[in-house]
Homo-oligomer: 284 residues x 2
């Protein structure tokens, strides 16, 4: 999807919020803001919001010398989510419709997004989301698609969230699907990397591959041949979070987007209201 002028305001906000995790030095913050302002002037709104915001994280890394500002936070959110895991799994054990619960838990995990600066209260949000209907709900399409032996590629999003995804992965494996989980090849915001997949225990469950780059979502100009093959081979793709929606919405493939619409620009694109959760099928 294209970017909106609103995205230019958002990247300046992301820039300062990310910088403040690392430093409170006014001069460094000012340098980062100025470099982001220069980046805004160079930004092409034909690009995706994900592509537009990536240079901001490079600016913050460059000015502060901190390549992975969210590293500690990522580790902590994984631990926090792992502590919740038994409670989450109990929801599934008692469920009439475990697939629906697993989808809701996976999107609940998507709330753990430290990149944009929204407050969250983990437990309350999880309970609320379990009782929230998808504003677009293609669960029945998905259910019909889940034939044993099919290849399913699962595009992960953030750390923390990756632990919640375990439950959906387990449900899919239990239905006989050949699931491959995908993480980023390097740090970008709080997106899950192989380190997080290991910490979350996903590597013990299914094959885990990398996109080939540390882009937000997927930059199809920078994917590895391994990722390209997995993407093309997949009978079904689950793409989680805004970054994957922003970058894969025009891709061909039998894709299900699973996310919470966290900003007006993405909500508008999805035809929903900001804050809505969505499970939408794009069978192109």
């Amino acid at each position: 999807m294209r970017s909106d002028p609103e995205c230019l305001v958002c990247i300046l906000k992301q820039s300062l919020n990310t910088a403040r995790i690392i430093t409170s030095d006014i001069n460094l913050l000012r340098t980062i803001i100025d470099q982001t302002a220069e980046q805004i002037l160079r930004s092409d709104l034909a690009l995706t919001p994900a592509a537009l915001s990536k240079p901001v994280y490079e600016i913050v890394a460059g000015v502060t010398g901190t390549k992975d500002p969210f590293r500690e936070l990522k580790h902590r959110t994984n631990l926090e989510a792992l502590q919740l895991l038994p409670e989450l799994e109990a929801n599934i054990a008692d469920a009439d419709d475990p697939l629906s619960i697993a989808l809701h838990l996976a999107v609940a995990g998507n709330i753990i997004d430290l990149g944009i600066g929204h407050d969250f209260d983990l437990i309350n949000d999880i309970k609320a989301i379990l009782n929230t209907e998808f504003a677009v709900d293609d669960t029945e399409d998905f259910r019909r698609d889940l034939q044993p032996g099919r290849q399913l590629l699962f595009l992960g999003d953030n750390s923390g969230e990756i632990v919640f995804d375990r439950i959906l992965v387990q449900e899919l494996v239990g239905r006989g699907l050949a699931v491959t989980y995908c993480v980023k090849s390097g740090p970008i915001i709080n997106d899950a990397t192989m380190e997080d997949a290991l910490q979350a225990g996903l590597t013990e469950m299914v094959p885990v591959i990398e996109t080939g780059s540390n882009d937000i979502g997927v930059d199809f100009n920078r994917i590895s041949s391994e990722f390209e093959a997995a993407f093309n081979r997949a009978d079904i793709i689950i793409a989680k979070g805004q970054g994957n929606f922003e970058t894969c919405d025009d891709a061909s493939g039998n894709i299900y987007f699973l996310l919470k619409a966290k900003c007006d620009v993405v909500a508008r694109e999805l035809g929903v209201t900001t804050g809505d959760i969505v499970f939408t099928h794009s069978p192109a």
Copy 2:
């Protein structure tokens, strides 16, 4: 007060929000954002947030050719407030402490601030604010200061709000003070001008003067001699809203700041929490 790096993010947000009142043309919006990004690069954080954001409104006016984008909104908020006036005045008639109610109503009026893009629900906010304590409350200082015959200069803030100020002005006049009300000399955001003072009926109650410029708050380098004389002559000054606080907090004078802290930067400066209402005495 000095600006914070956060103010640079805020001015980009203000720029787009204001532009969108006038146009949805992507090219115009982009031009305005780019000019604001260039303005950010030139911005001196030693300036007040008010001084920092003023050029943004000039950019929007320049690019769109609309000198007073809030004109219709200002007119409408005045009308809306005038319709509420009898109900507001009834609160005073029944009050044990009319001065305290009038101060609360005047700050309730400060919520009607269309410049920054906050949502508001007028009636509910008024009721809530009548029951809210000032986070800093110098009402007792103020009460002691209100001696008959004293000169009081009242620095107004926004349209709509100016109607609410009538009640406090009436209370002060009733206590024998010589009140002069002050508006801006030209349009800036939704700040009250002489046109609003006329519409609100304030000109029939007390002398109304202008600051001498269309700056947000007061730019002491651009005030008229009439304003300067009134400011220096005043025994008591009431300065309403964030713009007046940002620009008058270092001025000498017996000043009472009456406002809602609408952003983290101003809240931090006041030592309160964003959203708090404040009536603070600066007797410097």
